[in-house]
């Protein structure tokens, strides 16, 4: 059987298998990837019976299966032409004209290459770089501040767009290197190594090549710089948007994020100080209970670490179960604890065996 026949057979299979469904759904053209379409059709029928928490998992499995078999079909028909096609896609994604949409083309490599870009776009709050922004005239007169804010927003968006493009170009280049490495591996097989005989094995080989090249490239100073730039540019946009939002909220007399942060910071500082004071009070109470003069607070902290508030016995008591002491014994424990604290400090933790 030839690969042209294969596609024809699959299309015929699909036609017969989904004839009624296709009519009902109004599909005019047979699908380009019959197996994947068939599996999706099957999945739409059985997925309601699968617990919701696992549906995403099966969908990922189906997605990767579809990619693996599509890769195998294309490679089986001629792996060199497949590699040339991939090369072409990566070259296109790496051109200066390529934008975020070209990540889709790059995503043909197991659908993973667009992952970083998708993530960063999510963190951008769903906004695209430069969206809805046009160059503004110089800021003058009434509304100058608002105009300056928008100009800065435009500048930050453009910087982010540049960082995103540089990042994408890096991955396009990385993809090209993967294609080159894959070609090397396949040539080695031609020279006598066992051929790849299944879609699964081909997929695994491709994954292995991609991981290998990826690991080499993302540890370079070039990537470290690009990654840092992307994150920083993205955060500058987010921060600027947040500041703008805060200004609007302040105008409406509503709580702002900045105000909330200040409160959170103060509360945490107060809690920290409260804890420290409580520890001091506990220690003073122990001193009083033991009938000893109270130590100076600073020396107590230095001596016992966090505050020296734990009452301990002179000798470790081995017990089979943890023992929670009753409050009534607290004073006695405090007294022995004070004495033991001094002993423990002298030991310095050296004994242990």
């Amino acid at each position: 059987m030839e690969w042209d026949d294969w596609v024809g057979l699959q299309q015929a299979y699909w036609e017969r298998w989904s004839e009624f469904g296709r009519r009902a759904m109004g599909l005019e053209q047979p699908p380009a990837d019959p197996w994947r379409q068939a599996m999706e059709h099957w999945w739409s029928a059985v997925s309601p019976g699968v617990p919701e928490q696992f549906r995403g998992l099966v969908e990922k499995m189906l997605d990767q299966s579809g990619r693996a078999f599509e890769l195998a079909r294309e490679a089986g028909a001629g792996w060199e032409s497949m590699l040339r096609r991939l090369e072409e896609e990566f070259r296109r994604a790496g051109t200066p004209a390529a934008g975020p949409d070209d990540a889709g083309a790059v995503g043909s490599l197991l659908g993973l290459w667009s992952l970083p870009l998708t993530l960063w776009q999510e963190f951008a709050g769903g906004m695209q770089p430069g969206e809805g922004l046009l160059p503004l005239p110089p800021a003058l007169g009434f509304g100058r501040e608002q105009q300056e804010h928008l100009q800065e927003q435009l500048r930050l968006y453009q910087a982010w767009q540049q960082a995103l493009q540089a990042y994408q170009h890096f991955f396009a280049d990385l993809g090209l290197r993967c294609v080159g490495r894959m070609e090397q591996r396949l040539r080695q097989r031609q020279e006598g190594q066992a051929p790849i005989e299944s879609g699964r094995a081909l997929y695994d080989e491709w994954t292995s090549v991609c991981e290998e090249v990826y690991a080499e490239r993302v540890s370079t100073p070039e990537y470290v710089h690009l990654h840092g730039e992307l994150v920083n540019a993205m955060m500058r946009v987010r921060r600027h948007l947040g500041e703008g939002m805060d200004r609007q909220l302040a105008l409406l007399g509503l709580p702002t994020r900045r105000g909330l942060r200040s409160l959170q910071q103060r509360v945490q500082q107060d809690r920290r100080e409260l804890r420290a004071l409580r520890a001091e009070v506990d220690a003073l109470r122990r001193d009083l209970a033991a009938g000893q003069p109270a130590q100076e607070a600073g020396s107590r902290r230095r001596a016992t670490g966090a505050g020296g508030k734990v009452a301990v016995r002179k000798k470790a008591v081995v017990r089979k179960k943890p023992v929670v002491r009753k409050k009534a014994t607290a004073r006695n424990r405090a007294a022995t604890g004070k004495r033991k604290s001094a002993t423990g400090r002298a030991g310095g933790g050296r004994s242990g065996k």
Binding site: W35, M39, V46, F54, L57, M61, L62, S65, R67, F69, G76, L110, G111, L112, L115, F123, R189, E191, P195, I196, E197, S198, G199, L202, Y203, D204, T207, E211, Y214, S219, V224, H225, G228, V231, N232, M235, R239, G242, V267, Q268, R275, G305, A306, G307, V312, R313, A316, V317, R319, K321, P322, V323, V324, K340, G344, G348, G349, R350, G352, K353
Partner: protein, 357 residues
């Protein structure tokens, strides 16, 4: 010259048909798998504070107990039930079987109210109060401490600052030198403006950390793994194991912004444990102050904390009783692999027993 790829239409059709058959045959197991529970060993809560919970696990009756209890400090990243994932893969259960009395610090899920929790609050605050609680419960000056990954770094800081409270220290897959050449995570954060990141986001979303960890091996971890899931689908037991792990991987608490800022800047960007520049609560962390016996366990194939990052501890403390265990596995395998159950946990328990009598 032979073919590099020998896939024919017939062979591919057969493979696809087999794939579909196995998928259809295995899918009912997903219907029946039920809940994916974790944290399988019974425990009691002995202390709570804010989002933190301190859990206590008792050895089974009849097992000779180590008289010195062990407090385990997990990382802020991900959840501690990795140590108690399932009955036959549980570090905690194995420690109990070996007679260790175990306490586990569960940091919980920080939210916006926790955004300004600093390392000082975690190490000098929460950790110290948990340790004091256990010391009080057992009437002991010093107890054993085991830190995991970032929790190991915390434990090193804690022991250096509070040497009188720790009898023996165990660090597992713990980064010490944060700037070894093979540390990808470290490389990636070097050019990041962490102040800008934290000031902008507040708490750091767990999803962002997830993505970062997956980015270490993106093709294997976000693609290949799911294709290979087919191999597990027909075996309910292995399927459930996979689902437990999957649940754990994506169960990522957000990180308190201030603590994240400090950890990245002080430990990753400035390599503060090695350089001696980390300050917790105004006190400098000097690893030389750690004089108790120290066991350092690391994974030889750990891609998150490379072996050299952990081995850097050797010779940097004041302890004259330093031991290393190199485990032939990765960052997670050291807790959940069958080999780890047989080798790592018993060795840790034995090491503790010898130094706790």
């Amino acid at each position: 010259m032979s073919d590099a790829i020998r896939i024919t239409p017939e062979s591919l059709a057969a493979e696809m048909a087999d794939h579909a058959r196995r998928l259809a045959a295995g899918l009912p197991n997903l219907f029946q798998v039920g809940g994916v529970e974790s944290g399988v060993t019974a425990s009691e809560v002995v202390y709570r504070e804010d989002k933190l919970t301190l859990r206590h696990y008792s050895p089974p009756p009849g097992v000779p107990r180590n008289p010195v209890p062990l407090m385990i400090v997990y990382a802020l990243v991900n959840r501690p039930y990795m140590l108690d994932l399932q009955e036959d893969r549980s570090t905690i259960r194995n420690l109990l079987a070996a007679g260790q009395e175990v306490y586990l610090v569960d940091w919980g899920y920080p939210d916006e109210a926790d955004a300004f929790l600093a390392l000082e609050d975690y190490i000098d605050g929460y950790m110290d109060r948990c340790l004091d609680r256990i010391r009080r419960l057992h009437g002991l000056d010093r107890i054993n401490l085991l830190g995991v990954c970032q929790g190991g770094s915390f434990s090193l800081c804690y022991t250096a600052l509070h040497p009188g409270k720790v009898r023996n220290l165990v660090t597992m897959v713990t980064p010490v030198d944060f700037q070894t050449p093979d540390n990808l995570l470290s490389a990636w954060v070097q050019a990041m403006d962490v102040d800008l990141l934290v000031d902008t986001l507040g708490n750091i979303p767990g999803e962002l950390l997830n993505w970062t960890f997956l980015s270490l091996k993106p093709f294997a971890l976000t693609g290949q793994k799911y294709l290979h899931l087919l191999d597990l689908l027909e075996d309910p037991r292995r399927l459930k194991n996979f689902l437990r792990m999957e649940k754990w991987i994506f169960d990522s608490p957000d990180q308190a912004g201030e603590a994240f800022r400090q950890f990245i800047q002080w430990f990753y960007q400035r390599n503060g444990l090695i350089e001696g520049t980390v300050e917790i609560g105004g006190r400098r962390v000097d690893l030389g102050e750690i004089r108790c016996p120290l066991l350092n366990v690391y994974g030889e194939q750990d891609h998150l904390v490379p072996p050299d990052a952990s081995r850097a501890l050797r010779g940097r403390t004041g302890s004259d009783d330093y031991t290393e265990i190199a485990f032939p596995g990765g960052h997670i395998g050291i807790y959940v692999s069958g080999r780890a159950q047989k080798q790592v946990t018993p060795a840790v328990a034995d090491w503790l027993d010898r130094r706790s009598r």
